[in-house]
């Protein structure tokens, strides 16, 4: 981590962050001068991202927040290799991002569990496609199911699970290949408020034991602050990086206990006042 003051948060401009944050492990994700646009129905190009500069260090947890339609998910798709950037460079592990890289894990808002597979079968899916031998993938899937608290439901079908349990299976599936980079696209947004808090904590604890680099797209400011090392705030469309907040709250953190921290609330307010300007601008 970079050194920072004891005041609780450090605010840096986007340009400053990019050039100064080269940690010993090097950057896992490098986004330089990236702009992107989509074709509008009338045939014109509609810019969604403009001049994005961002480097994500090994083991860092970065949250990206911004108003709806600011290009957050496009940014994630660029890093995932699902979309090629029109302008600029996107690198993952020093190379061009490639879809299906077993080093990269994904978690979506919708769990995408296969209803015809049992919980265990779903947890094994990524390992199966990665070509892991049968006994080994079973062992790893069972281990992960246990760590998300679903050891007893291994033989159940997804339809028999609650939304929160389903997302736990998706987490197990994602972590089973031991990815080095995790991409989370609003992974908790489809859950009810209580389940969300529990799952955020579960994920936070699992992540602490993994050391993976995480990119989290979210609408939820408290989620961003309580999970991330840095929060990247984007402007309204076309999305630019407005500001990068360093979250200097001690770990391990719990989403619930953070509620009593004054630093947390100050950061929340600051983030919200900046974000609300963008939301209003839309």
């Amino acid at each position: 981590m970079t050194s920072r003051g004891t005041t609780g948060e450090t605010i840096e401009g986007p340009e400053g962050t990019v050039s100064t944050t080269r940690a010993p492990g090097g950057s896992v994700v490098r986004i330089a001068g990236v702009s992107h646009s989509f074709a509008a129905p009338d045939g014109a190009r509609r810019p969604v991202l403009e001049g994005i500069e961002l480097e994500i260090r090994r083991g860092e947890f970065v949250a990206i927040v911004g108003p709806s339609g600011c290009g957050k998910t496009t940014l994630l798709n660029l890093v995932a290799g699902l979309v090629r950037a029109e302008v600029g460079i996107v690198q993952v592990h020093g190379g061009r991002p490639k879809v299906g890289d077993p080093e990269v894990g994904y978690l979506f808002a919708r769990d995408a569990l296969l209803p015809w597979r049992t919980v265990l079968g779903n947890a094994e899916l990524a390992l199966e496609i990665a070509g892991v031998a049968k006994t080994e993938r079973r062992r790893r899937a069972e281990e992960l199911l246990a760590s998300v608290g679903l050891a007893d439901s291994a033989n159940a079908y997804p339809a028999q699970l609650s939304q929160g349990m389903r997302q736990r299976v998706a987490i197990a599936r994602t972590l089973a290949t031991r990815p080095d980079l995790l991409m989370l696209d609003e992974p908790f947004s489809a859950l009810d408020a209580q389940t969300k808090l529990l799952l955020q904590d579960t994920f936070s604890q699992l992540w602490a034991g993994l050391g993976a680099t995480v990119v989290l797209i979210t609408h939820d400011l408290s989620e961003a602050i309580s999970l991330a090392d840095r929060v990247v705030l984007m402007t309204a469309r076309p999305g630019r990086i407005k500001r990068v907040f360093e979250v200097d709250l001690p770990r391990p953190r719990s989403v619930v206990t953070l509620q009593s921290e004054e630093a947390y609330h100050r950061m929340y307010q600051q983030l919200w006042s900046e974000l609300s300007e963008e939301v209003v601008r839309q």
């Binding site: 299906g100 890289d101 077993p102 209803p115 015809w116 496609i129 439901s153 609650s162 529990l198 604890q205």
Partner: protein, 298 residues
């Protein structure tokens, strides 16, 4: 980790929104099963009573000449006729012919329909060029073509098999096509990001998701295959149970006709029971999913 355990426990108590714990609990499901068994006994008793009422009133109306027995026969006559037919009267041989035509026709329809549906779903050009022809041909009432098939393929089983394929092929093909097209987009995205090969995508994501639709198509195709065989036989009046029925009707033997009809109903019920058992086995997840949507939850 203790905190993790605590929060897992909390999750378990929070999820009051879903009926999972109940369904996963072995004791509870055992209890439910015994209650299920009791209701199914009640259902069977009621069904039996309805059958008795149906044939009893039929018998009564025919015996009292309210209904003309020459037109409707009577149970006390056609049940023995059915029994004599089965017990050495040649009905079994006739139904054998009908079933042979049904299954050969069905098997051909299934193979060709699965292949056709796959080609439509997988190759855009095939879909664009061929599908309008298929839709067009499928809109012809095929039964009307039966005499043409007899002219082309003779009075034997072959003309019936062709008739069956002309009916059932499209059902299998269109259901397979619809199933393969209806894959969940999230699943396709997942297959992409997990780096699935084309082959893996098809066998691990697309085909299992299409299975319920394909199965529904096969079930319907089998019904139509049976229909095609019997109607085809009635038309030529030469062979199989359909031929027997046509012959009995032609000689105004309603007792013989109903006797044959009983065998037809029994065989059709048996075939559909086998198919249903197969479906429950192969698509257990689907049954659980459908049951789940009724049991509270979201």
């Amino acid at each position: 980790m203790t905190q993790l355990e605590a929060n897992l426990e909390a999750d378990a108590t929070v999820r009051n929104d879903v009926a999972v714990p109940r369904r996963l609990d072995k004791n509870a499901s055992g209890r439910q099963r015994s209650r299920g068994a009791r209701t199914s006994v009640t259902v069977r008793v009621i069904q039996l009573a309805l059958l008795v009422a149906l044939f009893g009133s039929w018998q009564l109306l025919a015996a009292t000449k309210v209904l003309n027995p020459a037109f409707v026969s009577e149970p006390s006559q056609y049940f023995p006729s059915f029994w004599h037919g089965v017990d050495g009267g040649g009905l079994l041989g006739l139904i054998g012919t009908t079933l042979y035509e049904t299954f050969v026709g069905f098997a051909l329809s299934a193979i060709l329909g699965l292949a056709g549906g796959y080609l439509l779903a997988e190759f855009k050009a095939f879909d664009v060029i061929i599908r309008p022809f298929m839709t067009g041909f499928n809109s012809i009432p095929r039964i009307a073509l039966a005499p043409l098939f007899v002219l082309w393929f003779g009075l034997g089983s072959l003309s019936r098999i062709v008739l069956i394929v002309s009916l059932s092929f499209f059902i299998v093909a269109f259901n397979t096509y619809a199933g393969l097209q209806g894959v969940n987009r999230d699943h396709l995205l997942l297959s992409r990001v997990l780096g699935a090969s084309r082959r893996e995508r098809f066998f691990k994501f697309v085909l299992p998701s299409a299975a319920p639709s394909i199965f529904a198509g096969l079930q319907l195709a089998l019904t139509y295959a049976f229909l095609g065989a019997v109607v085809g036989e009635m038309l030529t009046g030469s062979d199989g149970l359909g031929g027997y029925l046509a012959l009995k009707m032609g000689s105004f033997d309603t007792t013989g006709f109903f006797g044959g009809l009983i065998l037809l109903v029994i065989v059709a019920l048996a075939v559909s029971a086998i198919v249903r058992a197969l479906e429950n086995r192969l698509l257990r997840w689907r049954a659980i999913e459908l049951a789940g949507t009724q049991g509270g939850g979201q």
